[in-house]
């Protein structure tokens, strides 16, 4: 595309948007084959709440990684994505792999990936891993609670 250095891509600029869009389509590859056309092509948020959640939050994350990296907007966006992935038929790797796709998206759209981006993507990945682990843990806790309740019934 362009060789322009992206050390300071303006958030909301067309390059950022292009990177984010590319990121969205790369990240769809984590999903099972049959689901992909729907997730990536259908734009309507109600017909496709998953696809639209993914798109919306990836755009937020792209803006932050390329821009200010504000914790306050990174954390909820990442949580929304990982929370959604954590209940699907995705392996743990697939559930957080989308973070690394950003590197590819930047390289493809901007030519190079500056050092600062590498560091940010790495820390994003770590955050995603721990958030994923938290979500899974929560699911198991919730499951345990239901099992415990069932056992209580049986012994009463």
């Amino acid at each position: 595309m362009t060789d322009a250095p992206i050390a300071a891509p303006v958030p909301g600029s067309s390059l950022t948007e292009a990177i984010a869009e590319r990121w969205v389509s790369l990240s769809m590859n984590s999903w099972p084959g049959a689901a992909r056309p729907f997730l990536s092509e259908e734009k309507d948020p109600f017909r496709n709440p998953i696809g639209s959640t993914v798109r919306r939050n990836l755009h937020i994350l792209a803006r932050e990684v390329l821009g200010g990296m504000q914790e306050a907007s990174v954390a909820p966006a990442l949580d929304a994505l990982v929370r959604l992935h954590a209940v699907q038929d995705l392996s743990p790797g697939d559930a957080v792999r989308f973070v690394f796709d950003l590197r590819t998206a930047i390289r493809e759209r901007a030519g190079t990936v500056p050092e600062t981006m590498h560091a940010r993507i790495d820390s994003l990945a770590l955050m995603a891993f721990s958030q994923y682990a938290r979500c899974r843990e929560q699911i198991f806790e919730l499951r345990l609670r239901e099992i415990r309740f069932r056992a209580e019934c049986a012994t009463r």
Binding site: G33, F38, R47, N48, Q88, I139
Partner: protein, 535 residues
């Protein structure tokens, strides 16, 4: 480059639905039914197996059994035959299913779920399917198809949302019911459905509580209600000659937060002096037969009329439960009626004749209570619910199998002052299912439930953020059992309660002691003095 280090699973980019292969994973399936439950109910092919096994140990002639079962049902149900034949695949229903919306799995589109069965129907029961095979959309019935059926028919909560939008009213729930009946013929069933069914058949309720346990639970609740109110509240069990038999889902006296709803009922009955009784024999209004076969539904339902006849009551009152009311409203009278030994229900307090129940003689508690409130028979202090910002979740069955929409809202608006609706197209007849109905509400299936509950949670999140809603009310035992888990994951900070729990909070009883806390023991909101006490 780390991106390439992550193993890339490559699957075909554009799946063709005719491939029946499904991958069973823990977390998104229900486990098989234990042989003892099948044996107790006299169902075919009891054995030890799991959906995760490669060999399902089907009977040798499983294919013949399935096809004959299908033929039989095509003859007996116009709905089945019609729904197999008239779908135009317009796609209006496609994005109406919460499981599709929450999983993006295209086979969860209602039309596709039905097509799994239709393709087999075409292959074996239509001329074009037999002649042109795949070109006519026909598929061979193979063991993989059986597994696919199992996966997707136990991934439909029979909520009927799809049917609302279909131009022909094609009800995928009906097709799922047929699919499950067929799977039952070859012993492919789930324990979460058949164990409650077996319990209910033997003991009288899903949880398998024996009569003395039933009495203990009821007495315990009566004592607690007495303590809260300072009155002497008693619950007669199997008392002959009472006017009304009260039937509720067993979760009401055994699970939480259902239990607070039970306290609400008991306080209401005491306050109005209702001449009623409950029964350990008919200690379950819910009916997991609905989730396995019409025959099982009938077998489990029979005890309600039988008990009403034995006790010599005049009519029957039913508690808060969703699928229980689907059966009571649309099936009971046809299956086990006519109830000519009962009388047309009349409210002893208001004299209202419940004309709409003239034949079945069973009244929904929300109809009964709404009538009491409308006639000014209850003293209510809605400020006692001021600590709750309330929304109401229409449960699928009362909404789409009955149309019970306004009665609970009328009650809620009378007992609370902070009631907020969720977005228009997620309530009433368009309500989103909790994702755990129709026998899917088990812990081993939790991931799937969380997917199915996503659209509902989305709407709850909206009212939470907009109005600060912190309580979701509903009139369904399955909702009350499963939504707390779902909301904790998707929308933490919103609790779940029955409508009659809030009624119990607001009900000002004659001679009650001063109450400072609600039925859960949480203190009422302060600053009540400023507002004139309603009572």
């Amino acid at each position: 480059m780390p991106g390439t280090l992550v193993q890339i699973e490559s699957k075909p980019p554009r799946g063709d639905w005719t491939d029946p292969h499904v991958e069973f994973r823990k977390g998104s399936i229900c486990y098989s039914a234990a042989p003892k439950n099948l044996e107790y109910l006299g169902l075919p092919n009891p054995r030890v197996w799991q959906p995760l096994d490669a060999d399902w140990k089907l009977p040798p002639d499983w294919k013949r059994i399935l096809l004959e079962g299908m033929k039989d049902r095509l003859k007996k149900y116009r709905s089945f035959r019609l729904f197999m034949e008239i779908c135009v695949r317009c796609g209006a229903c496609a994005d109406k299913c919460h499981f599709y919306l929450g999983s993006a799995d295209p086979k969860n589109m209602p039309v596709m779920r039905a097509e799994l069965m239709r393709s087999v129907y075409r292959r074996y029961f239509t001329l074009t399917g037999r002649l042109f095979g795949a070109l006519a959309g026909a598929r061979e019935l193979t063991e993989d198809v059986v597994k696919e059926w199992f996966y997707y028919f136990y991934q439909c909560t029979e909520c009927r949302r799809c049917s609302v939008f279909c131009p022909y009213g094609i009800d995928t729930a009906e097709i799922t019911m047929m699919g499950r009946e067929l799977l039952n013929l070859i012993g492919c069933n789930t324990n979460w459905i058949l164990e409650p069914a077996a319990n209910c058949f033997r003991m009288g309720n899903h949880l398998g509580i024996q009569p003395h346990g039933f009495k203990d639970s009821i007495d315990f609740a009566a004592e607690e209600a007495s303590e809260i109110t300072g009155l002497k509240i008693e619950v007669p069990i199997q008392r002959k000659g009472a006017e009304v038999l009260f039937v509720m889902p067993s979760a009401d006296y055994f699970a939480s937060p259902h239990y607070y709803t039970l306290l609400g009922y008991l306080m209401l009955f005491h306050e109005i002096g209702l001449d009623y009784t409950v029964s350990a024999y008919a200690s379950e209004g819910g009916n997991f037969g609905l989730f396995s076969s019409h025959e099982m539904m009938k077998r489990l339902n029979a005890k309600i009329y039988e008990e009403a006849r034995r006790l010599g009551v005049k009519w029957i009152l039913g508690g808060e439960c969703g699928h229980m009311w689907r059966v009571l409203h649309q099936y009971m009278d046809t299956m086990n009626g006519p109830a000519d030994f009962l009388e047309v229900p009349v409210s002893p307090m208001t004299g209202t004749v419940f004309e709409n129940t003239r034949s079945t003689k069973m009244v929904h508690i929300c109809e009964f209570t709404a009538d009491l409130i409308h006639h000014g028979r209850l003293r209510l202090d809605p400020s006692r619910n001021d600590h709750w910002n309330v929304t109401y979740h229409d449960s699928c069955n009362p909404a789409r199998g009955m149309g019970l929409l306004e009665e609970p809202r009328y009650i809620l608006n009378s007992v609370s002052r902070h009631f907020h609706e969720m977005p228009e197209n997620t309530i009433r007849e368009q309500t989103f299912c909790c994702g755990s109905g129709a026998g899917l509400g088990t812990d081993e299936n939790l991931e799937m439930r969380l997917r199915g509950g996503f659209p509902r949670a989305n709407a709850v999140k909206y009212v939470k953020e907009k109005y600060g809603v912190n309580l979701l009310t509903c009139i369904c035992a399955i909702d009350k059992a499963t939504l707390p888990t779902l909301l904790e994951y998707w929308v933490p900070g919103v609790e779940v309660a029955g409508v009659h729990e809030l009624l119990g909070n607001a009900l000002v009883m004659t001679g009650e002691k001063e109450r400072t806390a609600d039925l859960r023991g949480e203190p009422f909101a302060p600053a009540r003095e400023s507002e004139a006490l309603h009572a």
